[in-house]
């Protein structure tokens, strides 16, 4: 199996286990199995799903649940420009493809060397991730508390670790390093003063100094 497909599979397996956690929590928060299935299949944004369910579980209103889920879903819009060129010209096809634009699929596509491999990485990751996420959450909902706390196995750290590996290729050149540094700094600064989801939206401003730096370097190259 090609390396990018294998990496997509490994990432998706880990996400599938996280999906079990979602199933367990959603079941405990009183969601029915059909509701859990609809969320994983059609909402298909892990962070939003967890946020909504934990708001409900802690006695919050539906409005609060929807609000925090939407704040976390908003960043997927920022991934659109990164991957949209892999979806062809048809508006319908592009619109339907958008359903699979999330952290993991964008990350796997963005670290490939050429567009063809990137599109392949995107779609294989999308296929596996969607499948395992749904199987995982249904399994979690059915098995419930039999599974135990996934944090015992360090699963909550698997996701950031995977993203470090996916971040590194973006740090090869200085503009990327500056964007990562400023984006990360802005996120940390935003955490204490904003609801979940907002720090990630603020982080996108990190591209501005990265871009300015790249432009200056480019100008120097021309001179």
């Amino acid at each position: 199996m090609a390396e990018h497909r294998r990496e997509g599979l490994v990432l998706s397996l880990a996400v599938g286990i996280v999906g079990m956690t979602f199933g367990v929590l959603a079941d405990a928060a009183g969601l029915s199995l059909p509701q859990i299935i609809v969320m994983s299949a059609f909402l298909f944004t892990g962070a939003s799903q967890f946020a909504a369910v934990s708001v409900i579980d802690s006695g919050g209103s539906s409005y609060a649940a929807v609000g925090s889920a939407m704040l976390l879903a908003a960043r997927n819009a920022l991934y659109g420009p990164v991957v949209s060129r892999f979806f062809g010209e048809s508006r319908l096809r592009r619109g339907l493809s958008a359903h699979f634009v999330i952290d993991e699929t964008t990350a796997m596509a963005s670290i490939q060397d050429d567009d063809e491999t990137a599109a392949d990485a995107f779609w294989w990751t999308a296929l596996w991730l969607w499948s395992f996420w749904n199987i995982g959450s249904i399994g979690g909902a059915l098995l419930g508390s039999m599974i135990g706390d996934p944090e015992t196995y360090g699963l909550d750290a698997a996701f950031p670790a995977a993203f470090i590996a996916l971040l590194v290729p973006h740090l090869r050149e200085r503009p990327g390093r500056v964007a990562a540094l400023v984006g990360g700094g802005l996120a940390i600064a935003a955490v204490p003063i904003s609801p979940a989801g907002v720090p990630l939206l603020v982080a996108v401003l990190g591209v501005v100094p990265g871009w300015l730096l790249g432009r200056r370097q480019g100008a120097q190259d021309v001179l």
């Binding site: 298909f44 939407m70 997927n76 699963l155 750290a157 670790a161 993203f163 990327g176």
Partner: protein
């Protein structure tokens, strides 16, 4: 949770994704090269923030716990050019171990 709020979330999340691909995506594709350069930097800025948020944030507060050790081990593994699977498994193992140690 009501079905109504679930469908609102489904519609809203899909709306963001479609806006990203059809709105922002189209815009950057037709705009000049400098816009595409900016777009290429988005993963660097967002994934860096994602790693940080997932490592040191808990319930909207900054928290240092076992995850920091695990992710630290992951960083070393990435730096030593360990394969992807190894990075993920090592991080989980170290996090679980530190968590278990602090419980005992």
């Amino acid at each position: 949770m009501s079905w109504t709020s679930i469908w609102i979330m489904v519609g809203g999340a899909f709306g963001f994704k479609v806006f990203g691909v059809l709105g922002l995506g189209r815009m950057t594709e037709s705009a000049g090269r400098s816009f595409q350069v900016i777009t290429a930097l988005v993963p660097a800025a967002l994934f860096s923030a994602l790693v940080i948020v997932q490592t040191i944030v808990m319930d909207e507060r900054l928290v240092l716990d076992a995850r920091v050790w695990g992710v630290g081990a992951g960083v070393v593994a990435v730096w030593r050019r360990a394969p992807f699977t190894m990075v993920v498994v090592l991080t989980m193992a170290v996090t679980a171990l530190v968590r278990w140690q602090t419980l005992v």
